[in-house]
Symmetry: C2
Subunit: 208 residues, 2 copies
DNA sequence: CAGGCTAGTGACAGTCGCTGACAGTTGACA
DNA sequence: TGTCAACTGTCAGCGACTGTCACTAGCCTG
């Protein structure tokens, strides 16, 4: 059971979050001031900073959740599964669950719009990539543990995760550029790209 | 022939650059103010911003040069070479030339120290990853042109570059952590890691 | 070589992200 | 009901960055 205080807090936080995403996606991240966000929810600027460490953090609040969900999905894969297969399955099968989690906080449509804003705003893209790098590290350690190898001496965990993440990023970007950025497109495209990694690494591509 | 004005300008710029890197690497990026950098060279803060768009830009001034050199090295590879091989050779063989280029601006030792500072400063790491992403895009287009494929419909150029970049990044990070961060270590390690990508992607790793 | 032109600079004021300090208010709980 | 802790607003300040304006130093022409 939630106390009144907690309810109020949660409401303020979610209002700030939604207002921020709405402003970011409509008028751009850089052109949105923290004062504006606070004003839209009718709290002081200082209060905003009590809920979010900074302007950047609110932009990634939803991604935080999806990333955590993905890590959990990897952790839940059967331990006998081969590493790359586990990553692949966690991503493809976990997609719907992640989507539901997002929907409980903000409309998925707003989330997708925000994703595009991140891709097209240098400062946010930079932060996104750094955060991805941190997640990669987490998953690399997870895989290493699963497979019983040492993450600091055996490069394979980090290599595998780095390659997987690279493929996902390429896919995400392609989805962002196109108009048909739906859950299905991302799933089928990433499956296709994961299949093509092998052939992309060997030989030249002219002989079709 | 360089005019007096141009000489003065170049000297001011390089002084600012060296002073900035020196301060960043000794007392940290965050704890160094633009005022300090300007003061160290005895110019006004406003002048600093006339030479560098921001505090971040001066931190990556040297990386700018090395990245450009790498892109040029890839462009110079014989066109019949397979894509991944071209990347690999450009990186391994171009290393010495890049090193010389750096030395002409700042001591290599300072460059390496700065590299570590970048890796260990969140804001700089984020910027570094974003810049790397931009370079990846450049090289992907270059490879696509070489191979005569369309970069927007064929995912292989971006996939190959992304994988290559991921391997290099993993290697760089490992070199940063260790103490023996010399030119040799990076070269041999990246070669080894590039060889291991294949085996990292297939099967599980337990059966040694 | 005198005088004008312009690039480069410094000084100053202002915006925005962000933080610390302090005081007021509101919900929780005895 | 009164106390306490959590939450909030106000204010003052720092650092990154920008616009403006006046001034100086190098250059270029007559």
């Amino acid at each position: 059971m939630e106390t009144l205080r907690e309810r109020k807090k949660r409401r303020t936080r979610e209002s700030l979050l939604r207002a921020a995403l709405e402003l970011f996606t409509t008028q751009g991240y850089e052109h949105t001031t923290v004062d504006e966000i606070a004003e839209a929810v009718d709290v002081s600027q200082r209060t905003f900073f009590r809920y979010f460490a900074g302007k950047e953090e609110v932009a990634f609040a939803v991604q935080n959740i999806t990333e955590a969900a993905f890590v959990a999905a990897v952790r839940a894969r059967p331990p006998h599964e081969a590493p790359m297969k586990a990553l692949r399955q966690a991503f493809l099968e976990g997609w719907d669950a992640i989507r539901e989690t997002v929907e409980s906080i903000v409309p998925v449509e707003l989330y997708l719009r925000m994703y595009r804003t991140i891709e097209s705003t240098p400062a946010l893209l930079a932060a996104h990539l750094r955060r991805s790098a941190a997640t990669e590290e987490t998953i690399a350690r997870l895989l290493a543990e699963r497979e019983g190898v040492d993450v600091d001496t055996d490069p394979r965990p980090r290599l595998a995760v780095a390659v997987f993440a690279a493929v996902i990023r390429v896919t995400e970007r392609q989805c962002c550029v196109r108009e048909d950025f739906g859950p299905e497109a991302l799933r089928t495209l990433s499956a296709a790209h994961l299949d093509q990694v092998g052939s992309a690494l060997t030989g030249n591509w002219r002989g079709a």
